[in-house]
């Protein structure tokens, strides 16, 4: 009799885990080392302060480093999908790595949220990109702000210089497409590598063409090198950057050379200067408060905000998915993907997201502003 009771209770206890909901697993691969470490490290710090539960369900963030290497990013993604059986993949910090991860996410039918810039990650929404979303504004959105600003300021000819990887080439390709709309002519296009110690040759070639403005398509502190070289050689025209360079170390490395340069940015960067009526201001300031409380020595920056927006996206989508499926199952991943695609009017730290079947990015014109670097600070251009 006792034996039967023990056996029954053992069976009942072993069934308990099946009855309770499994944790939601989020696999995160970031570039916390390598050339893109200035993007990955703030993102990692943001993931560390994210709340560990959504809608009563425990969330488990597995954060790995891919050293800014697409091969390592794919390796991490495969590990997430086959060993950890995650419900959603997040990453990576850079465009080349994110593009490489798309195949793995699509094959395993796991939704993927990228924290990188290029529009090619989510557009066009084909069978593979069906599963892929991203939180940062696309380079295309940012460049529309740049080209409009250039046209408004009477600029006719533009020189381009950027990284010779997927990010730089993506930006330059988008810019070439947009430039014809605003009657801008690209007169020089040069490339350099993140680790280069000198770009004098490229700069001389650009100055030979004497453009009214130069757009530097770079990310992180290596973006300062062409600017310092241009100013050293006496270039007097306007300099534009992309949003990839937004961090304090860039301002330190660029110094006087980047003074007066323009760049498109998410509203987060100038959150304190936004009007109070802007809903983005409230969400941004809330995140800044949390981040500064956890990390008093490093102020919250644009990249950590992109990572925080992943949390806001999941916080919005997970409750919807939980209604129809349990975490850890294929149905849940599909339901989560559908919920992400139906995100409507979600106010994030960088803009207001409205995803759809054809738009897996969701931001509109409210998600970017033009910023000028004045006295080593980011200043909103009204």
């Amino acid at each position: 009799m006792l034996k039967k009771l023990l056996l029954a209770s053992a069976v009942a206890l072993s069934l308990l885990p099946l009855v309770a909901n499994a944790d939601i697993k989020v696999g995160v691969t970031l570039s916390t080392t390598g050339p893109a470490a200035s993007l990955g490290i703030p993102e990692k710090m943001a993931f560390a302060i994210m709340p560990k539960e959504i809608d009563g369900q425990k969330v488990d963030y597995i954060v790995l480093d891919d050293a800014s290497d697409p091969v390592a990013a794919v390796k991490n993604t495969r590990k997430f999908v086959s060993e950890d059986k995650v419900d959603v993949i997040v990453g990576s910090s850079t465009t080349p790595s994110s593009l490489a991860m798309i195949d793995v996410a699509a094959d395993s039918q796991t939704p993927m949220i990228s924290i990188a810039s290029s529009i090619k990650i989510v557009d066009p929404v084909d069978a593979k990109r069906f599963w892929v979303f991203k939180t940062p504004q696309t380079d295309a959105i940012m460049l529309t702000a740049v080209t409009a600003h250039m046209a408004d300021h009477g600029i006719k000819t533009v020189g381009l210089i950027g990284f010779n990887d997927a990010y730089g080439e993506g930006v330059m390709r988008e810019f070439n497409t947009l430039s014809s709309l605003h009657h801008l002519k690209v007169v020089a296009q040069e490339e350099y590598k993140r680790n280069d110690t000198s770009v004098i040759g490229q700069v001389l070639k650009i100055m030979e063409a004497n453009p009214d403005a130069v757009l530097i398509a770079a990310s992180g502190t290596p973006g300062a090198l062409p600017a310092t070289t241009l100013r050293d050689r006496g270039y007097k025209g306007k300099i534009y950057f992309t949003d990839g360079i937004i961090n304090q170390d860039f301002l330190r490395v660029g110094g006087k050379a980047v003074e007066g340069a323009y760049l498109p940015a998410g509203p987060f960067v100038v959150a304190k200067q936004l009007p109070d009526s802007n809903p983005i201001k409230k969400v941004s300031l809330d995140f800044i408060k949390r981040y500064d409380a956890a990390y008093p020595k490093s102020p919250a920056n644009s990249f950590s905000a992109h990572a925080w927006n992943v949390y806001l996206l999941l916080k919005n989508a997970v409750p919807v998915a939980l209604k129809t499926a349990k975490p850890g199952t294929k149905e849940f991943r599909r339901a989560l993907r559908d919920a992400l695609e139906n995100t409507t009017n979600l106010v994030t730290a960088h803009g207001i997201m409205n995803m759809s079947k054809t738009d897996h990015m969701g931001f509109d014109q409210r998600s970017r502003v033009m910023v000028e670097i004045v006295k080593g600070q980011w200043k909103l251009v009204q």
Binding site: S198, V199, I200, G201
Partner: protein, 351 residues
């Protein structure tokens, strides 16, 4: 391209080429004496540059911790090899010298870094302190990683060198952070010579490189230690037979390479922003120069490295997307030319 642009590019090419030449000479030196292709030479450059940056900012240089830790590791290794059962008998001076070099010297450097007013020191003093912190790392790596494998093949030593490079890279990220920095320029002089605008900084780099190479040449030709190094490079066994301590030669070669690397870092620090991972590619370009010299000839290696610098400058003007391709593809015709023109067999092939 008109003359003024050609001259500016030439100036830039010669300045970077001078630094590559120093690295090429260091690589040839280490290879000739120890048959190690010292890939971490690039890391010594970044360590030197970023330590200098920290000194100039008045911050405590984190590289000192690495120096202390490695000194301790080498000392423990010496104690173990002396005291383990079955060890060969040796004089007490071995442990005493080891303690002096590996324990006392790092502690003295640590105290200097802690107690001196770092930012207030003038440039030569800061440079000397940087050299004292960074250069000893190279012979310590030799003792820890390469000396036990002294009789292994060149390939094994190369693989170990790559491993050391990765370790130093990771430690570099931990010590210096992900962001780059630039040190203060030596001089803000600028004078105009026709269409050229020469900077005092660039001239200082070229002059320093030439002086170091002249000093090395003097060292090899006129001092006993230098001649001993050359003897070890020519024939290791023969050198042992005439009483030269080949282990010391290896350490000396690595120390010289460390000094050259750290000093190159101090030279290029003001010119460009260096990151913890910039050293590898710089070291590789020095390696291309060393290949041009066949890993044996110092003048040809230096000349080859200068050529690499010039080629890089002109390629970045003509075809910036293919700059790296052109620079590294230079190795192929050089190897083809060398394989046709060399008649001597390597030592390994006779064994």
């Amino acid at each position: 391209m008109d003359t003024s642009i050609a001259l500016i590019l030439a100036q830039d090419g010669i300045t970077t080429g001078a630094v590559y030449a120093l690295l090429a000479v260091g690589l040839v030196l280490v290879f000739a004496v120890t048959r190690v292709i010292f890939i971490p030479q690039g890391e010594m450059v970044t360590y030197g540059a970023l330590t200098m940056v920290m000194l100039q900012a008045g911050a405590f240089p984190t590289t000192v911790w690495m120096l202390l830790a490695m000194g301790l590791a080498v000392f423990i290794k010496d104690v173990w090899s002396r005291l383990r059962p079955g060890a060969a008998p040796a004089g007490s001076h071995v442990l005493r010298n080891s303690a002096l070099l590996n324990l006392l010297l790092p502690v003295v450097v640590y105290l200097l870094a802690r107690l001196l007013p770092l930012q207030a020191l003038d440039l030569p003093a800061q440079a000397a302190l940087t050299l004292a912190i960074v250069a000893p790392l190279a012979p310590m790596w030799y003792r820890l990683a390469f000396e036990p494998l002294a009789h292994a093949s060149v390939l094994v030593l190369l693989i170990v060198a790559v491993a050391v490079h990765f370790v130093m890279l990771g430690l570099g990220l931990a010590m210096f952070g992900a962001e780059g920095a630039r040190s203060n320029p030596f001089s803000d002089l600028r004078f105009h010579l026709g269409p050229l605008s020469l900077s005092g900084q660039g001239l200082a780099v070229i002059v320093a490189s030439v002086l170091i190479m002249a000093a090395l040449s003097l060292f090899f030709n006129a001092t006993v230690a230098g001649k001993a190094l050359r003897a070890t490079a020519v024939n290791r066994l023969g050198a042992r037979l005439v009483g030269i301590e080949v282990a010391h030669s290896g350490q000396l070669a690595f120390l010289l390479a460390g000094l050259i690397g750290a000093f190159s870092g101090i030279l290029i620090g003001p010119a460009t922003t260096l990151y913890y991972d910039s050293g590898f590619v710089i070291g590789l370009k020095g390696f291309v120069g060393a290949i041009i010299g066949g890993m044996v000839s110092y003048p040809i290696a230096a000349g080859g490295a200068l050529f690499v610098g010039l080629m890089e400058a002109y390629a970045s003007f003509w075809a910036s997307a293919y700059k790296e391709v052109l620079v590294f593809a230079l190795i192929v015709p050089v190897l083809v030319w060398r394989s046709f023109s060399s008649h001597t067999l390597l030592d390994e092939e006779e064994e």
